[in-house]
């Protein structure tokens, strides 16, 4: 099948789906909000807090529609896609409130439908259906694979694996790779061994002291129900440029499985979910990258570039808008802002702005609205100042999770005041290879240490419903994402 024919069919399918969506939207205004972020960025917590905030409607002074009292109520409704798991809002909220534990992380796509009854500013009564789609950001990194051949993919990921920051982690995989050749006959056992070693290497890159972000293919780390299937049993191998795959060779088998991965895994996600989004929020854990060091920060930047390339951003003509979904607002959020004193929030935002600079420039020309914000969907700390000798440090107080910072320092029960380090005034200093900063893996210890804190104590009211969760700028994020549709 020629590729232009394939892409034509794909576009036609997308157009048909979009037309269907538009027809439904006429009867029932709907907004599809995508929530994504690389793993541990806090997607689940953000989604839970967002739904809770909309349903409770307290402590949201900057979210205008809510503050003006124009939102009567928001209620959960059965979701439209029967094949997608439901986002377990109640379960996650209970974990957060009762056990004071952060909920399990997002390992697959999930969906939740909220219907918001509101009054437009000029009076009347309307309802807006909000479909919230929560999916791992790693899947976005797969989207560029759609345009790549197996040879491109192999060359790229082996280049990454041999980079200095990753080479030690990839050593077992690279050793196994050196012992084989593309032309050997295909052998399932060998393919499985290579795929397992490759997956181990990707998983090792995610450890806290390294915190790498650019780790395609995404499903290797989050296989879901595809675990063990041939579409996930491949690995990049060394190929000489322009080499043809002899039939029955290892090369041919790997290439075929890579194509299957694209067709069966990546393309359906793109068509059924990603291409139909209206709004998108990308959560980014900048602090974890700062914890880990310059290599992690550079890797995060590269991963964000990959994510940004996936967005079909920009407003089109009205005819185009009928057949083609476009994401018209994207919010980049640096999560866990409560791990910092609020005097540093502006600096955190500046660092984030620097990370997504290219997307901002591109969006300006297409008319997409892009904003960056430092937020905490659930605020786990309060602020303080610590005076030690003659120096005063802005600090935060919270209950650090057990098992961090050495073996016995924190038991997960006692409160601690933490000064996490000064963020630089000028974000360029972090990205400058000559200045640099030290990560956790450095012998002398890192320049920054952002601890993980336990969730705050939240009371329940007489009916057993948890009260509003404390947050930082969640209301501003909501106002940006939903405000214009609730006018």
């Amino acid at each position: 099948m020629p590729s232009w024919y394939e892409s034509l069919v794909e576009e036609a399918r997308l157009a048909a789906l979009t037309l269907l969506d538009r027809a439904e939207e006429l009867a029932n205004p709907t907004l599809r909000l995508g929530i994504t972020g690389l793993s541990r960025a806090g997607k689940t917590v953000f989604t839970t807090a967002l739904v809770h905030a909309l349903m409770r409607g307290e402590r949201m002074p900057v979210f205008r529609a809510m503050h003006e009292g124009r939102i009567a109520r928001a209620s959960l409704e059965p979701q439209p896609d029967d094949a997608v798991p439901r986002f377990d809002y109640e379960g996650h909220l209970a974990t957060l409130v009762d056990e004071r534990r952060w909920p399990e992380s997002t390992r697959r796509i999930s969906e939740l439908r909220l219907v918001v009854d509101y009054a437009p500013a000029r009076g009347g009564k309307r309802s807006l259906t909000l479909d919230i789609l929560d999916y791992p950001g790693e899947w976005l990194l797969d989207l560029p694979l759609l345009g790549q051949s197996y040879a491109d993919f192999a060359a790229q990921s082996l280049n990454l694996a041999r980079a200095p920051a990753r080479a030690p982690l990839a050593a077992p995989f690279l050793a196994a790779l050196a012992a084989t050749a593309p032309e050997v006959p295909a052998d399932e056992a060998q393919a499985r061994q290579l795929a397992a070693l490759f997956t181990d290497y990707l998983a090792a890159c995610r450890a806290e002291a390294v915190s790498m972000s650019l780790l395609p293919p995404g499903r290797f780390l989050m296989p879901g129900d595809l675990e063990g299937s041939p579409a996930l049993t491949f690995a990049p191998i060394d190929l000489s440029p322009g080499a043809e795959a002899p039939p029955g060779s290892l090369h041919a088998m790997m290439a075929r499985r890579f194509e299957a991965y694209k067709e069966r895994v990546v393309r359906p996600f793109f068509r059924d979910h990603f291409a139909r989004l209206d709004r998108q929020i990308v959560l980014i854990d900048v602090l974890a990258a700062l914890n880990a060091g310059p290599a992690a920060l550079a890797d995060l930047e590269a991963a964000l570039d990959g994510i940004l390339a996936a967005f079909r951003i920009g407003r089109d003509s009205w005819l185009g808008a009928l057949f083609r979904h476009r994401i018209d607002k994207v919010l980049f959020a640096a999560t866990k802002a409560d791990h910092l004193h609020h005097a540093s929030h502006d600096r955190l935002e500046a660092i984030l702005r620097r990370l997504v600079e290219r997307a901002l420039a591109r969006a300006e020309s297409t008319g997409t609205e892009i904003d960056v914000v430092a937020l905490a969907a659930v605020r786990a700390t309060r602020e303080a100042s610590v005076k030690r000798g003659r120096t005063t440090m802005p600090a935060i107080i919270g209950v650090p999770e057990a098992g961090q910072h050495g073996a016995d320092a924190f038991d997960g029960l006692a409160e601690a005041a933490v000064f996490p380090g000064d963020l630089p005034d000028n974000p360029a200093a972090l990205f400058d290879p000559t200045l640099g900063f030290r990560g956790l893996s450095d012998a002398e210890g890192g320049d920054f240490r952002f601890l993980r804190f336990r969730p705050p104590l939240v009371m329940r009211n007489a009916e057993g419903v948890p009260l509003a969760l404390p947050h930082i700028r969640l209301d501003r994020a909501l106002d940006f994402l939903l405000g214009d549709r609730l006018r």
């Binding site: 002074p61 303080a384 120096t391 440090m393 802005p394 005041a417 000064f419 000064d422 240490r449």
Partner: protein, 349 residues
């Protein structure tokens, strides 16, 4: 507890357990022993962030003008003093009791004049505070500066303390002050809370005045009567608006306020004329066909409405950022009924 390196220039990350014996939490109220690490939980910003200083505003009046007015003022007061002392001397020359009576009156005059002067100065200062507040708020929005915004909000809340109808809004706002909200958002929040009820009241005041002026002009027997009426209404309108938004203008304050209103009108008049010129012409044309006096009434009413809008912009302590500024059609609804009915129609879709 973790890193004992001295904090010099570059500060290393550090963590302190609150149950550590070396750590003292200030909210317990215990005095801190020497060498202890003191933790003060707070929401206040501990250290000042440096912001680039703004260029100094140009001097408001020229030095020669100041010289002229101080000279003239000095001469006039000297002349007045001389006249009074001469009068009292003359009175003493005629009879002692007349002289003492004159002296008593002079003392009353001085006390009264001082009190009035003090009130005027207070009014002027209040006016200056409001103007400065508006500039600060605009700056806080532009720079998204939290600290400045908080200062603006606190000052406005202090100003609104005397207004019982803002009590609820003020309490709510005080609750939000502790949350982490960005500077620009905080100013907009303050505006929505404190200004919204005042704005609707101000719109009503202007609208009433415009209606009154147009009716009186239409029925008044002489041109002189409606001229005086228009002037009086304008003065009282500006005064009531200033009172509404927290100003306490005396005579001097009113004079300065009026000057600002007229200046503002001159700047914005041209722009505002563009949006509703057609309505005015049509309204005036039809009314003038019916009767010349009716046409004049409409014109005078529109003029008052314009003046009122300019006065709102000048007296309001916050710029219109979150709320829409009232338009001519909002206050001149009684005069231009056609446009009004168009606006109230709910737009579907």
């Amino acid at each position: 507890m973790t890193d004992k390196s001295p904090a010099s220039g570059h500060r290393r990350p550090q963590a302190f357990r609150l149950d550590d014996p070396d750590v003292v939490v200030a909210e317990d109220g215990r005095p801190a022993p020497r060498g202890a690490i003191v933790v003060t939980p707070s929401l206040a910003v501990p250290e000042a962030e440096e912001t680039p200083p703004l260029p100094a505003p140009p001097p408001s009046a020229s030095r020669w003008t100041t010289l002229f007015w101080s000279g003239l003022g000095g001469l006039v007061s000297l002349g007045l003093g001389l006249a009074v002392s001469k009068l009292i001397e003359d009175l003493f020359a005629r009879a002692d009791w007349l002289g003492y009576t004159g002296l008593a009156f002079a003392a009353l005059f001085v006390v009264g004049a001082l009190a009035i002067l003090g009130r005027e100065l207070f009014g002027l200062m209040r006016l200056r505070t409001l103007n400065a507040l508006r500039e600060q708020a605009a700056e806080a929005i532009a720079k998204d500066d939290r600290k400045q915004a908080e200062a603006v909000t606190r000052e406005l809340m202090a100003l609104a303390k005397t207004s019982p109808r803002l009590f609820r809004a003020r309490t709510e706002l005080a609750g939000h002050l502790d949350a982490i909200i960005d500077g620009a958002d905080l100013v907009r929040l303050t505006e929505r809370h404190l200004m919204a009820p005042l704005d609707s009241e101000a719109t009503r005041l202007v609208s009433d005045a415009a209606k009154r002026v147009s009716v009186v002009t239409a029925v008044s027997p002489r041109a002189a009567v409606d001229l005086i009426f228009v002037l009086l209404t304008a003065v009282s309108l500006v005064r009531r608006l200033a009172l509404l938004y927290g100003g306490r203008p005396g005579a001097l304050g009113m004079f300065r306020l009026f000057r600002q209103v007229i200046a503002h009108l001159a700047v914005t008049g041209g722009m505002a004329a563009g949006d509703s010129l057609l309505q005015q012409l049509v309204g005036h044309g039809i009314a003038a066909k019916l009767s010349a006096r009716l046409g004049e009434g409409v014109v005078n009413g529109l003029l008052t409405a314009r003046l009122g809008l300019a006065a709102i912009e000048v007296t309001r302590p916050l710029p219109f950022a979150a709320l829409p500024a009232p338009a001519l059609s909002d206050v001149a609804s009684g005069l231009i009924a056609r446009k009004d009915s168009e606006k109230d129609e709910p737009k579907q879709g």
